[in-house]
Symmetry: C2
Subunit: 471 residues, 2 copies
């Protein structure tokens, strides 16, 4: 047993935990901070890997990768850490496939998919309705939204069923849910969906790669650098890897945080791991039942991300952007792909197998999954897609101390019955992680925001003079 009393123990060395530690250190250089991480690396749901490529090898993100120009918390941090962006390539024809394996494969150049006039009308009216509702959402406390109970009592699927007119649009919207949440529209509360969109500035910003949207830029050298550089600034000695927290005991004047092999005392704890993992920690005294019910109603999505590298970006040469959107009714295992050519010019595509498709495909052999992906790419982009250099995939459900990606959603009923406990500290325990963010919740920017917010909470408890009233 380590008899030292730490000021703050941060559970999780992802972007949220390291942002918290970084802000604590900047505000109060003398604070004794310890960061405990289950994985053998920092970065949480960001992971940058070397992958064989045209020029030998290059780096790609197997986790969170995109940045948008309205993600102010992330952009400020990137500036501070000296990281640069480059735009998501989106010039050329996009491919769009819905309506079953035999459905027509359409291509289009605009940001609006190639849809029949009726479906386009349907899309327009549905987006207008959703945007109108988004504007009414109280992101800080969604239970205060007009008509909250009704909006929270239906699944996203039920809303689409009720307010969408065409089967094609409903398939389109399911693809969107799958790619944004790694979940089916049936699996989450419509009020949660609205809150999530509102926290991003609307529904379209979640879906697009245009200015201000979630898929606007990427980070040169990969997003894991954010956490790596933060860890350097905080001090590598403050980060203990391979140290999964199993228990947090709160006593009168301190808290005790336990891993498989050690136990630490501290004055405050910031728990940043996703809610389904926080639920596995043993707490004494037990957390309030509202908090337990909260985590029981926040399942995480299922996402398999793949990067496939090529000698040349043959799709660009053929006039394609690399963006493919495919419904689950088609034979395609993936719901969406994008161009992923590196800033160094190494050609690649990135794609996602998500939601029910991840559930179906994750149990198959890796080779079978790869063949299905490649054969779909061949179908959509041409035979050149078969001659890839390397296919790398990451099933986030299999990653220890993640268990899924990209985000925990909220089941119906949660926001109107238990939500106040999402950010409410429990004694010395403060809650962070992108799921607790109010701006770009579920994104890297939300992770940064939530970490900083938790750090300010702790500072106002431990050293009130270091925070301003505004904070």
């Amino acid at each position: 047993m380590d008899e030292k009393i730490w000021d703050v123990i941060v559970v999780g060395a992802g972007l949220s935990g390291l942002s918290a530690a970084h802000l604590l250190r900047k505000k109060e250089a003398d604070l004794e901070i310890l960061i405990l991480e289950g994985k053998d690396r920092v970065g949480g749901r960001t992971l940058t890997s070397d992958i064989p490529a045209a020029n030998g090898v290059d780096r790609w993100d197997l986790g969170g990768q995109w940045v948008g120009s309205t993600q102010t918390h992330l952009l400020e941090l990137m500036k501070e850490l000296g990281l640069e962006t480059y735009p998501q390539f989106n010039t050329g024809r996009k491919v769009h496939h819905m309506g079953g394996p035999g459905g027509k494969i359409r291509t289009y150049k605009t940001s609006i998919p190639a849809l029949s006039p009726v479906v386009l009308l349907d899309l327009t009216q549905l987006l207008r309705k959703i945007d109108k509702l988004c504007a009414t959402v109280c992101v800080q406390d969604p239970s205060q939204t007009p008509n909250a109970v009704e909006l929270d009592s239906m699944t996203v699927h039920s809303y689409f069923e009720k307010h969408g007119w065409t089967a094609e649009l409903k398939e389109e919207m399911a693809v969107s849910c799958r790619s944004v949440f790694g979940m089916e529209p049936s699996q989450m509360s419509f009020l949660f969906f609205l809150m999530y969109a509102a926290a991003a500035g609307g529904l379209l910003p979640l879906l697009e790669s245009s200015a201000g949207a979630a898929q606007e830029f990427k980070i040169k050298g990969g997003t894991q650098q954010l956490s790596e550089r933060l860890a350097e600034r905080v001090g590598l000695e403050a980060v203990r890897l391979g140290s999964a927290v199993t228990a947090i005991w709160q006593e009168a004047d301190s808290a005790r945080v336990t891993t498989a092999t050690a136990s630490f005392s501290c004055r405050a704890v910031i728990v940043t791991c996703p809610p389904h993992l926080a639920a596995k920690i043993q707490f004494h005294p037990a957390l309030p039942s509202q908090r337990e019910f909260l985590t029981q109603n926040m399942p995480i999505g299922h996402l398999i991300k793949f990067i496939i590298t090529y000698q040349t970006a043959f799709w660009r040469e053929k006039g394609f952007s690399g963006e493919i959107v495919a419904g689950s009714s088609t034979d395609s295992p993936f719901c969406v792909t994008f161009d992923a050519t590196s800033p160094g010019g190494n050609a690649a595509l990135v794609g996602f197998i998500a939601g029910q498709q991840a559930s179906q495909w994750s149990s198959k052999e890796a080779g079978e999954r790869r063949e299905a992906v490649v054969s779909s790419l061949v179908r959509y982009l041409g035979p050149e897609a078969a001659s890839f250099i390397h296919y790398e995939e990451k099933d986030w459900a299999e990653e220890a101390y993640s268990g899924g990606c990209p985000v925990n959603v909220m089941a119906p009923g949660l926001l109107t019955y238990y939500q106040p406990s999402l950010r409410k500290p429990c004694g010395r325990i403060h809650w962070a992680g992108t799921e607790t963010a109010t701006q770009w919740c579920g994104y890297m920017s939300g992770a940064v925001q939530s970490g900083q917010r938790a750090a300010l909470e702790v500072l106002s408890d431990l050293c009130p003079s270091s925070t301003t009233p505004d904070e």
Copy 2:
């Protein structure tokens, strides 16, 4: 570390775990069986307590209490253990209050509530539709039900909204959900709801206290005796209380089950604790991701049960049965009460504060809650209700190693994406608990069925000759 190799370790000394151990012992007397229980008592979600009463003191059930004549697994066990039933008293006028605090308080004597003709017509058509759907449900694998994905993609609330005509009926159905599941209709999949009803023989059996229904009989002396007598038969030395399992490691030729203070090796494990608690156990190797997603999508209900004792059953004298049904729009904290007079003649009422009402009322002072309950009883049954002997309540969300009651439900989308993992063994680990039952799932009878099924699975692995092909 205990170097002995146990044949079977059962996690949880509730009705399911003890039924499993009992059957194992009966089939193979020499099996070395160890039962590890977190609580300091056996019985799980059954708990029988001494409560001050008219004749001094008597015993009441603060957890599961009712038995129905179609609950064959439980009835056979009761017969074997020598336990007797007595009928639920339901003679006299029932009280029915919906439509806001000022809504009319109606009384009625039939099994069908006193409703206006329109609402009655609405009830009839809705029950007919639900019963028709129930008949199509494949309880063993609900994903095989016709139209399964659609039924699983909506909440129970959405189904009632779509197919119910009147606000009063919708309030009525919400009360039913709350009292059966401790959950709001918004919080669960409609396919799960149908499966649950189908496993009980239909929706009405869940709701009524008539012949064959869930609330038909009670057990003389209380339901905890089931577990106590099972534990005696299995052998008290086989049951270790205060031994919450924190980890299960599977190795090549054995499994290792760990508590806070000890570690045991065994050939097979039966995990019987409810899914949200099983999810807190650390498993190595990690469980399949499908199993993790399953438990993330199975929140438990919230139920506060109260027993209030009186000198006389004054309500009977006034022609009331003791049954009160109250909507959440009224001022009543409880959704339902019944007569709970003991076989020894000690007068009492039993009631439930459930779902969103449990969520609201659990955070208030016990005294405030008691006063609200009593003042509602006074309103519905008369001023005599104020002169009680004792008010005893049990908030199951506060009970360690329960965290809620009566049952874990399934969020929308779960049954059609992950459900096969509900009963699917993971190596040496077998799954029991009432949530895994196919007959009277969620009830004591389902707990017995699930424990016996898991025992037979283990026997067919460990000593195939002891089971018949039918089993």
